[in-house]
Each structure stands twice: as C-alpha cells, then as structure tokens.
C-alpha cells in the first residue's frame, strides 16, 4: 500500500512538471504523514542531516566548480592540439584525435554534455573540412563524450557512492580501466572504418610539436594527476582532492592560462622582452589576477554557474535521500530482494535485468536522478546475489552513458544537434552505429567484473602490504 502510494505519487508529481527534487520530497513526506508514526520534527531533522552529514557529497560542488573554470574553449583547444599531435598521423587520425580529446576532457570535467559541447564545437567542423562525413564526425564525438561520467572525476559516481555508502575513491579507481577500454575500442573501430573508407591521415606532427602541445595541455591534464594521485595514493579523500582541484582550476584558468579574469589574454612573454623584466611583470600580474578576482565579472559569473548546478544536484540528492529513507523504513528493497531471490533469478539474469531497466530509465531522466532512485532499490538485491557493489556501480554508470545517447532525453544528442544545427533525430541516427561499440563494452564490463575490480583490488593489496610492513 505504502509502496504503491509512494511510487504512484512520485510518478504523478513528475509528470505534471514539478521539479524532480520537490516530487521526491513531497512523495516521501506524504507517505510519512499518511502511513507512518514518525513525527514531523524527525522529518526536518532527517532533511537537515541529508544536507549535512555526508562529507563525500561536498566533492560535488568542488568538482563542478573546478570543471566550470576549466571548461572554457581555451582548455579544450589545448587538449585537442595535443591529441591531434599524438594520433593525427594514423588513418582516420582526426576522428581518433577527437576521441582522445574527449577522454582527456572527461578527466577535467565530470560532465558529458559539457565534453560534447567543448570538443564537438571545434572537432566536428574540423573533421568535415578534412573530408569526413558530418554524420561520422558527430557520431564519434557524441559517443566519446559519454566518457565524461565514467572517467574520474565523475559527479555521477559520487552520487552513487553517497546513495549506497560505497567508497567514492574506489569507484574512481574502478572507472579508470573501463574508461580506457572504451576509448581503445572506439579508436580501433575508427581505424577499421578509416581503412575501409580510405579516410585521410595527417602528416606526422613531429616530436617537437608533440612535446610543445603536451606542455601546453599539461596545465589542464595535471588536474587528473592531482585527483587520482592523491586519492589512489591514499593521501586524501575525494572531497579533499576535489577542494584542491577547485583551487587549482581557478589558478590555472586565471593565472596560468589567463583564459578569464583580471589578467585575461596577457602573454607570459612579450616579444623582445628581457627575461628579468618578464619575471617581474608576471609576478605582478599573478598578484593582480588573484587579488582582483573577487571583483571580476567573469570569475564571479563562473562561480555562480558552478553554484547553480551544484545546488540543483545537491537539493535533488537531499530529497532523494528522504525518499530512500522511506523506502528502507518500509523495507521495500528487502521485500523486492526476497521476491527476486525466491524466484530463483541468477546473478547473470539480474545484471541483464538491470541493464534493461536502466537503459529504459535512462531514456527519461538524467543520470544522477536515475542512480538516486534506482540505486537504493537495486543495491540490496545485488548484495543478496553476491554482486560486488563497486562493479554494480560501474555497470550503472556505463548504462547511463548509453542513456545519454538515446532519445527523448539523451543530453549528448541535444548538444550535438545544437552544434550541427540539425534535428534531434538526425543526431540520434548519427550516434547509432557507434552506440554498438558502447553496447559491446557494456556487455563485456557487465559480465567481466575483473575489468572494473582489478585496479581497486590491486591498490587495496598494495595498501595492506605497506601497512603490514
């Protein structure tokens, strides 16, 4: 009865266009008021706790802030230059470079639509100029863009960690190899297609260009070194690493690259400038850049943009936790879990079921929302069936990647349609052949747990060894 009410009211509230956060909150609050003996005051306490007890969730605003500073066109251009220098000389090199640039960009931003927008706006046009079909160019970028939520840092993974009490650090480690695997699969597919269609290759860029472009991309790519290094090395928690990333991203955007802020566009070395003069000038500029930032229109705007997205997500999370609270007090997941195990469902069948369920749900809601609602329900069943919680998380994230490419709410499709000025249907068709690569990857990742678990297990081993010594 409560279950029926909870889900029916949630569904109704969302259909009539109430914000997802309010829908989740109202459905839970009404269930408590009508069916439970809990006091109203305990609800308020629960709600406050939802916004203030999970330290890991603070990583969400920090990573969003870091990504807001780094997702300007300047960083994307540097990453694309580096990727092109690395793989441009293969057949289909420009398409490969786009995939690689998406992978790099995924590592500085935790968002997939942002990746497609930043890389796609430059790469699609470049590929079309070089003789690729627009369909292929767009399809490749849309698919590689989904890596944004699989390659750490990833907002969706933090949300999963918060919803299921799994370690976010472990999720980050687990996403790394599947992310690289999908990148490699896309690269190989492009190479084969390029051979068949006889697509162009660029001349080899030369070692000098490779090292020069690597140096210029380093400022952005160093972010992932900070994040992964400190988390994998066990020095810092994801939240702490995220705070450091946010401060680093601000410094690199304002003082390093000078893409925004008070000293925007000032060169590090003017032509004919003597070295000492340049050093003194740059020191002064650094101080100026930092000191004037609080009053700078662009910097303030970037911070507010980051704040806006963070608040939206965290408010949904707070309400979804209220929803999960009602679910657990009513023992709904346990009931479903018992029914599922009694039905004699094998773990493999269950994973297939999850794939189908998440692919459908992913068609109608954005990734964090789907994870927040489904994770509390699916998680206990998975544990019952002996599926590893980290592995389950990775499966869910890869499913959500595919959801980003399927209408009606595939965000990457909307972005790509916007860039190319084509219809949503056209974008969906362009994405379709490459979706086969992602689906294959999903099957491989679902049925080979070790791809996801290898790295976290390995690092766990190292740590226990070093503690034992």
């Amino acid at each position: 009865m409560v279950t029926a009410f909870l889900f029916a009211s949630l569904f109704f509230f969302m259909i009539i266009g109430m914000p997802v956060a309010f829908s989740l909150g109202l459905a839970s609050v009404l269930s408590v008021v009508f069916f439970s003996s809990d006091s109203l005051a305990s609800l308020a306490l629960k709600f406050f706790q939802n916004t203030s007890t999970k330290y890991v969730l603070l990583a969400v605003p920090f990573f969003i802030l870091a990504s807001a500073f780094l997702t300007t066109g300047g960083v994307a251009q540097r990453l694309i230059r580096f990727a092109t220098a690395l793989v441009g000389h293969f057949r289909g090199g420009l398409a490969m470079a786009s995939v690689l640039a998406c992978t790099f960009f995924a590592a500085v931003s935790g968002s997939s639509p942002a990746t497609v927008a930043a890389i796609g706006s430059i790469c699609i046009a470049a590929m079309v100029r070089a003789g690729y079909s627009q369909t292929m160019a767009t399809g490749v970028v849309m698919n590689a863009g989904t890596l944004g939520i699989l390659i750490p840092p990833s907002i969706v993974m933090i949300v999963y960690a918060a919803a299921t009490e799994v370690s976010a650090a472990k999720m980050f480690m687990a996403g790394f190899i599947p992310g690289l695997m999908i990148t490699a699969m896309l690269l190989v597919t492009i190479y084969v297609v390029a051979r068949v269609r006889n697509l162009p290759a660029l001349p080899f860029a030369g070692l000098q260009e490779i090292s020069a472009s690597a140096l210029s991309a380093f400022g952005g790519l160093f972010l992932i070194v900070i994040v992964l290094g400190s988390i994998y090395g066990g020095i810092a928690s994801p939240t702490e690493a995220a705070a450091v990333s946010a401060v680093y991203a601000f410094l690199i955007a304002v003082v390093g690259y000078r893409d925004m802020g008070p000293v925007r566009g000032t060169p590090w070395r003017k032509p004919d400038e003597a070295l000492p003069a340049s050093i003194v000038r740059n020191l002064a500029l650094t101080v100026k850049g930092i000191a004037l930032s609080p009053f700078d229109h662009e910097v303030r705007h970037t911070i507010l943009e980051g704040a806006k997205v963070s608040i939206m997500l965290l408010f949904v999370i707070a309400n979804a936790m209220l929803f999960a609270h009602v679910l657990t007090t009513e023992r709904i997941p346990q009931t479903i879990a018992e029914a599922v195990t009694n039905a004699g469902l094998s773990p493999l069948m269950f994973l297939l079921l999850i794939n189908v369920l998440m692919l459908i749900a992913g068609n109608f809601m954005e990734p964090s929302g789907v994870i927040l609602i489904l994770a509390p329900i699916l998680f206990p069943i998975a544990i019952e069936l002996g599926i590893d919680p980290i592995h389950l998380g990775i499966i869910m994230v890869v499913n959500m990647e595919i959801g980003l490419l399927t209408p009606p709410v595939g965000l990457n499709l909307f972005v790509a349609a916007g860039i190319t000025k084509k219809s949503l249907l056209w974008a969906a068709k362009a994405a379709l052949p490459w979706l086969a690569v992602l689906l294959t990857a999903l099957i491989v990742i679902t049925y080979t747990p070790s791809i996801s678990l290898f790295l976290p297990d390995l690092i766990e081993q190292w740590r226990t060894q070093s503690v034992a010594q």
């Binding site: 266009g17 914000p19 806006k308 939206m312």
Partner: protein, 185 residues
C-alpha cells in the same frame, strides 16, 4: 530594491561556496604540509555545505535551475497547461508548507534543549535554522510564481536545460574571445 536583494542573494551564495572550498583546501594544506589541523573544520564545512544548499534552493528556483520532466507538460497548450502548472505549483507549496511546519517544530525542540554544536559554541538550533529558512524562502518564491501564472505572465516552472546550458556557455565564450573586452569592466 528587488535587484539589490537579488545581488545580495547571489553574493551570499557565491561567498558560501568560496568559503566552503577554501576551508577544506586550507585544512588539507595544513594537514599534509604542516602536520596540524583545525578541529572545527569538518563540522563547520558540513554546516556551510548545508547552508549553501538550503539557501541556494530558492535561488535555483529563481534562475530556473531545478530539473524537471517537461516532456509531457510541453505537449499541453493554453488553459490546460496553465491549470496543470497551477496544480504543480500548488503541490510544491504543500511540500514547502509541510516541511516548514516540521522544521519549526524541530527547531523549537532544539531551542528548548539548548544544546550546542559539537566543536563550535553556537546553539544547535541556530546552526540548523537554515532548514526553516530554506522552505520559507522557497515558499515565498513559489507564491510569487503562482501569482505570475494566475496573472498570465508565466506558464509554469522555468527549467534548466542542461544541453542548452552547455551550448550557451560555449556561445558566450566565443563572443568573449571575439571581442576581448566584452564582459569585463
């Protein structure tokens, strides 16, 4: 007056986020660089986070940042669409109302108990009062939205379109790179 209040709101939210980031950052640097820590840092950062979200919720409503499923509503038109919008806003008000009453009761009890936060000498009810503030502010914005819809000035919630957002950010950046002085004072 309205513009001033909105500027204050934006500055406050920006400051909360920056303070939160810097607090955690400084704590990390102190711990790993100098081997010392700040005892109250964790509790204060958690409370700052809560205030950021709770005060921000109504700001997010103003700028249309809350996501919603609008596929069905967009199929509707005219008076039906407005009627559905009124229903959705009304139910949102119910949500705020129930939680505001709940928060009032809870804070009242905390006030009587008179306990302080764990590491900081601030009464707990005061630290947690953001939860009441959150639903009062949200409620006020919802009432304003309801009136606007009834007067025919709006046709429902403004929604964040993440895809459009990513494209807008790009267009904005392009515009700025083309005119180096745009957006700067």
């Amino acid at each position: 007056m309205k513009a001033l209040l909105e500027a204050v709101e934006e500055t406050l939210i920006g400051l909360l986020l920056v303070a939160l980031t810097l607090l955690v950052f400084v704590e990390v640097i102190l711990r790993f660089g100098f081997g010392t820590g700040v005892i109250w840092a964790q509790e204060v950062s958690l409370y700052l986070g809560a205030w950021f979200i709770l005060i921000g919720a109504s700001y997010a409503l103003r700028v249309g940042a809350h996501i919603a499923v609008d596929a069905v509503v967009n199929l509707l038109d005219g008076p039906v669409k407005r009627a559905v919008a009124v229903l959705a806003i009304g139910l949102s008000l119910l949500y705020c109302g129930i939680l505001a009453v709940a928060a009032w009761e809870y804070l009242g009890r905390m006030f009587q108990l008179g306990i302080e936060m764990e590491d900081v000498a601030i009464p707990r009810w005061l630290g947690q009062s953001a939860v009441l503030l959150c639903f009062l502010l949200l409620g006020a914005r919802l009432v304003a939205l309801l009136l606007a819809v009834l007067r025919g000035e709006a046709d429902g919630f403004k929604h964040l379109d993440e895809a459009q957002e990513a494209l807008d950010a790009l267009a904005e950046h392009d515009a700025q790179t083309k005119q180096p002085d745009a957006g700067r004072k």
